[in-house]
């Protein structure tokens, strides 16, 4: 009886964990892919999208993120292995070309459809890719609505 209660309470405090994206440990990924921005969770794009992104690092969203070949291959491999899954959704455009922005994927757009354009443009946010501006615990992979604070 007591045990059931504990289990029930535990279940209630972690509602399906739909809002958790745990980033598996990987030293090279953390060093190289969290230097200019937080480490985006591998589960947020599919393998095809990551492959596309990892093949174009010298021209990475208007900046040079080039890597030596050994590291590039190791990180591409890590992303490929952890890509996709139940919560990823479609990460290609209408023509089937891989998207390399999480913020353009169908799932991201759906989860953020209530946020007005003017909000994204606020000086403290500036970019949809600036997850940590609103999700205070995004760097730990926690996107729970309890930890969302939209800056004014």
């Amino acid at each position: 009886m007591k045990r059931t209660l504990v289990l029930l309470l535990a279940a209630a405090s972690f509602p399906a964990l739909a809002d958790r994206y745990v980033v598996p440990k990987h030293a090279a990924f953390e060093e190289e892919c969290a230097s200019c921005h937080m480490a985006y969770p591998p589960q947020m794009l599919d393998a095809h999208s990551w492959q596309h992104l990892m093949n174009n690092l010298p021209k990475h969203f208007g900046t040079d993120a080039s890597l030596d070949e050994k590291r590039r291959v190791a990180i591409a491999d890590f992303l490929g292995k952890n890509a996709g899954g139940r919560k990823t959704g479609v990460t290609a455009d209408a023509k089937g070309n891989p998207l390399i922005r999480i913020t353009e994927t169908e799932r991201f757009v759906r989860k953020h459809r209530q946020i007005a354009d003017a909000v994204w443009q606020r000086p403290a946010i500036k970019s949809k890719a600036n997850c940590t501006a609103c999700h205070t615990t995004a760097a730990e992979g926690n996107y729970s609505d309890d930890n969302v604070r939209i800056p004014r």
Binding site: F61, D64, S127, A129, N130
Partner: protein, 128 residues
């Protein structure tokens, strides 16, 4: 007699390459590659000017790199670049070469010359 002396110098040079480097070692290396002494004044000008692109080095590292900076596009905090304020800077050749390559490409649309790297580092070392 002369030969063993040269030999031991060569040995200690080889050892210092393998050891952790200091900012001074990088300055020596860049000056040697450039074949000329560094100018901190020139380095400061290089660091704070735009070279025909949207950003200067100080867009992300600020004009007073003893302070922390912020990535001009992503807003992520960046630790101070001046060694006086951040002992981890200019101690790892792979890291130094990688970021000079990337950031010079972003700011100047080309790699930096050894002289430019020497000048910038001399200026950073002068920041206290």
């Amino acid at each position: 007699m002369r030969f063993p002396l040269l030999f031991s110098i060569a040995l200690s040079l080889a050892a210092s390459v393998a050891q952790a480097e200091t900012p001074r070692d990088f300055l020596t290396r860049f000056e040697k590659e450039a074949g000329a002494a560094a100018s901190a004044e020139r380095g400061g000008r290089f660091f704070t000017s735009r070279h025909g692109s949207e950003w200067s080095c100080s867009s992300c590292h600020t004009e007073r790199p003893t302070q922390g900076g912020r990535h001009a596009k992503t807003e992520k905090d960046i630790q101070p670049l001046a060694p006086a304020a951040n002992a981890a800077r200019f101690t790892d050749a792979a890291k130094v070469d990688k970021w000079f390559r990337r950031n010079c490409n972003d700011v100047a649309n080309r790699v930096c010359t050894a002289q430019e790297k020497a000048d910038v580092l001399a200026w950073l070392l002068a920041q206290k």
